[in-house]
């Protein structure tokens, strides 16, 4: 039993924090907001050079074969400065699917390029009307010779505009909400019949609605076994949840730090706001919410690796519930304690708040995961 970072992990943490503090001040983030893709390809290359893009990739495919804990360490550091690069889409969701389910050939084609920053992935799992149910897949893949033809609509595909290759969940058998009968396909971004409607998200990221109209793929586009995609999706989403909970912890820590700083400098009624007991206790509650969340995020990072799917699901859902509640509380209170300043677009506080709010929505909100945890 040891709930501390090992030396390599600590090193990663320190170097990431140092690098990002220097290279990723708030001004950088603000500039990115106005760009088409919402991120900087040079920064992405730098991430590759730092070895960050290969953390989840086995060494034989050009990565460093790290665990969920290394991903969490990085995501926490990303949260603290609101990194906009598509790490979640490519390195957590995309790499996750490939690592778990792809053939050796697919891995060899895809993973080394991800590690070097030359390939971006996007995972199209949700649909308009599926809400958070991963098994609710209406997009159909009809058999067509040895390959398939895909038709349907995928919703809110993160960082799709930048992606070179999509991983698409489509139904090869069964009814619209059946667990069996879902298959995963690799689809090139420029495939005929694939169209996107790109948009920014309220938290300054990018996503797209993706329409598939008679998109033909070969047999070698199939990821994993036909009709058996759901456990893969669930595994990957659980890992993505562990990652965003760590990101949320980075955000909460930053919000708490900045709010505390504000309370100590801002004076009202002749004394610093930090002198008011109500604000002290509020700050303590925010601190506690963040510490409790941190414990759960790292618990989830470790236990996302559990072999047993039920045990993994319970751990991850518990973390998501904790982070959802804590994030809402910390975000709202950080704005509140900043007073009017908290409402402005100039300070980072509102930006953190928006991202925290959207993290609660990502991959299922508090109620969804509370029910999943409770087994209902």
């Amino acid at each position: 039993m040891d709930f501390t970072l090992n030396d390599e992990q600590r090193l990663l943490q320190e170097s990431a924090e140092r690098y990002l503090a220097k290279e990723y001040p708030f001004a950088v983030r603000r500039r990115l907001l106005a760009t088409d893709l919402g991120f900087n390809r040079e920064t992405w290359k730098a991430f590759a050079d730092l070895g960050w893009l290969g953390i989840g990739i086995p060494e034989e495919f050009g990565g460093i074969g790290g665990s969920g804990v290394e991903t969490a360490v990085l995501m926490e550091a990303f949260g603290a400065v609101l990194v906009g690069e598509p790490y979640l889409a490519t390195c957590v969701l995309g790499v996750g699917v490939v690592r778990l389910a792809s053939s050796p050939v697919q891995k060899k084609v895809l993973l080394p390029k991800v590690a070097t920053g030359d390939l971006l992935l996007a995972f199209a799992f949700a649909e308009p009307g599926s809400r958070y149910e991963l098994s609710r897949v209406a997009t159909r893949a009809r058999k067509n010779g040895s390959g398939f033809v895909l038709d349907g609509r995928k919703a809110v595909v993160f960082d799709a505009a930048a992606a070179d290759t999509f991983i698409v969940a489509a139904r090869t058998a069964g009814g619209v909400a059946d667990s069996d009968g879902i298959t995963l396909f690799l689809v090139e971004a420029d495939a005929k019949g694939l169209t996107r409607r790109d948009y920014p998200t309220v938290d300054g990221r990018r996503a797209s609605e993706v329409t598939l109209k008679g998109v033909a793929v070969d047999a070698d586009a199939i990821v994993g076994a036909v009709d058996s995609g759901l456990p893969v999706i669930e595994w990957v989403i659980d890992h993505a949840i562990a990652a965003v909970t760590a990101e949320a912890v980075g955000i909460m820590s930053a919000l708490n730090r900045q709010t505390l700083e504000y309370l100590k400098t801002r004076r009202q009624f002749g004394r610093p706001l930090a002198n008011f007991q109500v604000l002290q206790h509020r700050m303590v509650d925010m601190f506690a919410a963040c510490e409790l969340s941190k414990s759960m995020a790292y618990m989830a990072a470790v236990r996302a690796g559990d072999r047993d799917a039920d045990s993994r699901a319970k751990a991850v859902s518990a973390a998501k519930v904790q982070i959802g509640k804590a994030g809402r509380f910390v975000g709202q209170q950080a704005v509140q304690l900043h007073g009017g300043m908290g409402m402005t677009d100039e300070l980072p506080v509102g930006h953190y708040f928006k991202r925290l709010t959207m993290i609660d929505t990502l991959f299922g909100d508090v109620d969804f995961h509370l029910r999943r945890f409770a087994g209902g």
């Binding site: 949700a126 308009p128 009307g129 809400r131 958070y132 149910e133 919703a155 809110v156 909400a177 409607r197 948009y199 920014p200 998200t201 309220v202 938290d203 996503a207 609605e209 004076r267 009202q268 009624f269 002749g270 008011f276 109500v278 604000l279 809402r328 709202q332 704005v335 509140q336 007073g339 009017g340 908290g342 409402m343 402005t344 677009d345 100039e346 506080v349 509102g350 930006h351 708040f353 928006k354 709010t357 959207m358 929505t361 909100d365 109620d367 029910r371």
Partner: protein, 398 residues
């Protein structure tokens, strides 16, 4: 104790309802109900209709254009406006500077300003807060120094809602020198077209641009524009705090939002059935509905007491903090209701006349911005923490 409306009250309600039905422009109603952004023209168009009907300032004394309605009638009127999808009447003229002019202004002030407030020909904004004086108004620094028959005003006001729409601003300024903090504050009206005024929009993190910083550099203001005496500003500000604020709870608007929540939750699907039938979501909606009922009946209790002749008191602070908590809870549920479609950001979709097809369900676009924007409700007009300080001091005498 009778919670039903009397025949007279029912008739009054019908009259208001009919007026709204016959007069509220459909495009404005749609914007309000769909949570789209209103522009100045929308608000002024509606206010002018109210003004023509004589219903612009129900709570003013009749001799200045008030309606002579009882507190209950005024409450019913406000409720019908909200439930009918009318825009909020901008409060700065009608609820703030108007009552101040009536109470403290000269006859000349009244003749000059009140009619143009009633007719919505003048748009007012409020110059209270400053960068270093938020909740702590006594710390304000904007100075008005005598220069012949004028003041020269220098300083910065901030969080000024709709300053870019405004013809006039009413300001708390410092006139005395070296007096105690709260003395030496005066209440001054300033023409927004005066030289030396610069408006800098402050973008809020929800993407909105309703608030501004207004800076004054040697702005020349005739002494005639002083309301009350020099140094009476603090008294006037306190007068406004104690002024009738029973509408502050926003009950009827919250009811309207609850209807919208139910409509949306009936259309969103969750696990193959409407979200509103999901026991958990349904219970959450019910819980807020009950909180809103408790606030509504508390509001009615206060209105009834006023009707019976009791003066309004600091309990309006309770209405304010509970009201905004509930409003914020509703914005949160609305956001939750749409799941992933809370994410797309389509600022153009919030304005009228956007012709593209919506991303996701057509009601989704304003929900996240509205949730973000409405965090302000517990901050402005005295943070909720300040409201609790007021109750602790004024009611509980702690």
């Amino acid at each position: 104790m009778d919670l039903t409306l009397s025949p007279h009250e029912l008739a009054f309600q019908s009259e208001v309802r009919a007026f709204i039905r016959d007069n509220l422009p459909a495009d404005i109603k749609r914007k309000v109900e769909d949570g789209l952004r209103l522009v100045k023209d929308d608000m002024v168009r509606w206010q002018k209709l109210l003004g023509v009907r004589g219903w612009m300032a129900p709570h003013w004394p009749e001799k200045y254009g008030g309606t002579g309605w009882s507190p209950v009638e005024r409450y019913l009127f406000e409720e019908e406006l909200a439930l009918g999808g009318c825009p909020r009447v901008a409060p700065f003229g009608i609820n703030m500077v108007g009552p101040v002019i009536i109470e403290f202004g000269s006859e000349a002030h009244k003749r000059r300003f009140l009619p143009r407030i009633l007719s919505s020909d003048d748009w007012w904004c409020q110059g209270y807060s400053e960068p270093e004086a938020g909740s702590d108004l006594a710390a304000l620094k904007t100075r008005a120094e005598t220069d012949g028959d004028d003041y020269l005003v220098n300083g910065v006001k901030t969080w000024t809602t709709f300053a870019h729409y405004a013809d006039w601003i009413f300001c708390l300024v410092r006139t005395g020198s070296k007096a105690k903090k709260q003395e030496g504050i005066s209440f001054l009206l300033i023409d927004m077209r005066a030289d030396g005024i610069v408006i800098r929009p402050i973008r809020t993190f929800d993407g909105g641009d309703e608030i501004n910083e207004v800076s004054f550099t040697d702005v020349r203001v005739p002494k005639d524009n002083l309301i009350g005496r020099e140094g009476q500003g603090w008294t006037i500000a306190k007068f406004l705090l104690g002024y009738e604020r029973t509408g502050i709870a926003g009950v009827a608007r919250s009811k309207k939002q609850m209807q919208r929540l139910r409509t949306i939750a009936a259309r969103e699907m969750c696990g193959g059935r409407p979200l509103i039938e999901d026991p958990k979501f349904r219970d959450k909606v019910a819980a807020v509905e009950i909180e809103l009922m408790a606030l509504e009946y508390t509001n009615l209790r206060i209105v009834s007491a006023e009707n019976a002749g009791q003066a309004p008191g600091p309990e309006s602070s309770l209405l304010k903090f509970r009201g905004t908590e509930i409003q914020q809870a509703i914005t949160e549920l609305l956001l939750e209701a749409v799941g992933y479609y809370a994410l797309p950001y389509a600022p153009d979709a919030l304005a009228d006349g956007w012709n593209e097809s919506p991303i996701g369900p057509e009601y989704a676009a304003p929900l996240a911005p509205h949730y973000f924007n409405w965090r302000k409700a517990s901050i402005y007009a005295g943070t909720n923490e300040i409201q609790k300080n007021i109750i602790a001091k004024m009611i509980l005498e702690m």
